[in-house]
């Protein structure tokens, strides 16, 4: 599904160079649920942005479903972001003037879907995250947890190959975080591949695999023995 080989990312700010990613090798297979952990500044977001085709590495290779993404142009990357990747941000990143429904429809507009199809799929996605009763609300009329659920519905609506989430619970209280993790687990049960950044061990233990970063390098990569199941029933 995802294969990254000796990936390097260097930020240059004037004379100062920051090596945000150093020789990263990582493979994520279909159906996995991976948490990426590490201290602040260790390169987690940098990796996620590259995986999400929002940014490019300085060197190394990135294969998404066997396609070498590093060789694609801007338009091709936009198409991948649109169809193959669902991205969930810490800050929700909803468009404030659009309703929940319209926010969820956005990726389909760029995919060129017809109005009716968009409506149906967007309503289905909102239903999946338990927000059928909030479809016509504006983002500022929703709680943090609800906003993040709209963002998840939006990320899922074009049925992407992979769901990327950069600290999705970072702005949420523990109850909302728990709800979001429940949604992720349900989606993963249905076969959605998820890579998620978090610095909370408690949250990370809801996933099946934890990759830990330090100073731009992977220091550990372990499967979770006994993931916490939302609703109590541990696997």
């Amino acid at each position: 599904m995802i294969k990254v080989e000796s990936l390097n990312k260097i930020y240059e700010n004037g004379r100062i160079q920051v090596a945000a990613l150093k020789n990263i090798n990582l493979t994520v297979s279909q159906g996995e649920f991976v948490a990426i952990m590490g201290a602040s500044g260790s390169g987690k977001s940098t990796l996620m942005n590259i995986l999400g085709c929002l940014d490019r590495a300085n060197s190394g290779k990135y294969f998404l479903e066997q396609v070498d993404v590093s060789s694609l142009n801007d338009d091709e990357l936009a198409k991948i972001r649109n169809l193959k990747i669902g991205f969930v941000f810490q800050a929700f990143n909803l468009l404030p003037k659009l309703t929940a429904l319209e926010n969820v429809e956005l990726p389909m507009i760029y995919a060129g879907a017809k109005h009716k199809e968009r409506r149906e799929k967007a309503l289905a996605a909102l239903d999946k995250v338990g927000l059928s009763d909030r479809v016509l609300h504006l983002p500022n009329e929703l709680s943090g947890g609800q906003k993040q659920r709209v963002a998840i519905a939006r990320a899922l609506v074009n049925s992407p190959s992979i769901l990327l989430a950069d600290e999705p619970t970072g702005n949420l209280d523990s109850k909302s975080s728990e709800e979001i993790m429940g949604i992720f687990q349900k989606l993963n049960d249905e076969g959605v591949t998820i890579v998620m950044v978090t610095h909370e061990p408690e949250i990370a233990h809801h996933t099946k695999r934890i990759v830990t970063f330090k100073d731009g390098e992977i220091i550990t990569d372990k499967f979770v023995d006994n993931p916490i199941r939302v609703g109590g029933d541990a696997l």
Partner: protein, 403 residues
Amino acid sequence: MNIFESLKSALRNLMSNKMRSFLTMLGIIIGIASVIMITSIGAGSRAAITSEFDKLGVGLLTIQMKGSNDAKLRDFLTLDDVELIKKHPEVKNVTPYFEAWGASIKLKNPKEEKSGYIIGINEEYRFMVPPDLLYGRFIIESDCKAKSKVVVIDEVLAEKVFGRKDVVGETITVRLWRGNLKFTVIGVTKNSNAALESIMGAEMPSALYMPIQTVMDIYLVDYLDYIYVSVKDPEKIDQTAIELNKMLEMKHRNEDAYYIRSLMDEIEMINQVLGYITAFISFVAGISLFVGGIGVMNIMLVTVTERTREIGIRKSLGAKNKDIRKQFLIEAVILTVIGGIIGIIAGFLGGSLVGMLMDVTPKVSLFSILVTVGVSSLVGIIAGVYPANKAAKLDPIEALRYE
């Protein structure tokens, strides 16, 4: 993203900031409104002038000697020339025309006078410029042959001298350079100065129409100011003018001594002047359109900066550079096109108002509307391209990080 979605989203954005959108449009509105107003008034007055000239007929020629410094006595137009011109087969009517200023007409109280001018013409004049006769008749052939001391005056003068209008057969006294002369009134016309007086707001001198021979005797001259010619076929008027000129040059044995103008030439000249004025004012209005376009560009740049984050979000969801470019370009074009449409309506209303004051019916052609809409969309595209490109080129990560 199809065009309908783009339009909807652009309209929505503009509506969410109505005041700003309106103020941005204002420059375009004012520019377009003034262009429409000026061109509609211009076209309206042109049509009015043309129809005014049409009443006089299109088949009229004016012959005049060029008053250059080396003009010789033999070049002057005379009554013999009138006879010569009559012989041309294309000529319908010919009249000599001699105008003399400085006449004073004695009023009821002989101590009072009204200024006037004498026009000498022949019996054919009345077929060429039909007079609005109220009483009596106009100059006829026997008046000319007999050099009769007769005159045709207008109702205003009749009222001043006699206190009534039907004064055919009465005698008026006119003070001229050689003293007081008496003339018998043979006809009274409507006030010939009505239009002029209403514009100038003052009394104009009175015209006294007399037989040309009578006038020449009084002034002891044998040359004319003009010869007016009406032709049988207005289509051939240019050719006829050339031939008449040749006849005159042969007779006077000179070259390039006469102007021969048709009324069409005068209409064209007036239209040309009006056209220049319209073009000049339109140019000034065009500058305000240009300034309006800069206003649109400025606001679009502000909008792009304000919505950097939105651009990042849209890109993260799969918007291509061209989708973003289209979105902002459409917003700019909608601003200018709606501004243009409001401007057309405002210009039409303003034109009607000014037209009412100037007594002109403004004319808005479909062509000018199409051009205006075209120009305003063009202004939108030009003003929008740079900001839209700036938006499209934003790096998604940088844009998402923007606060």
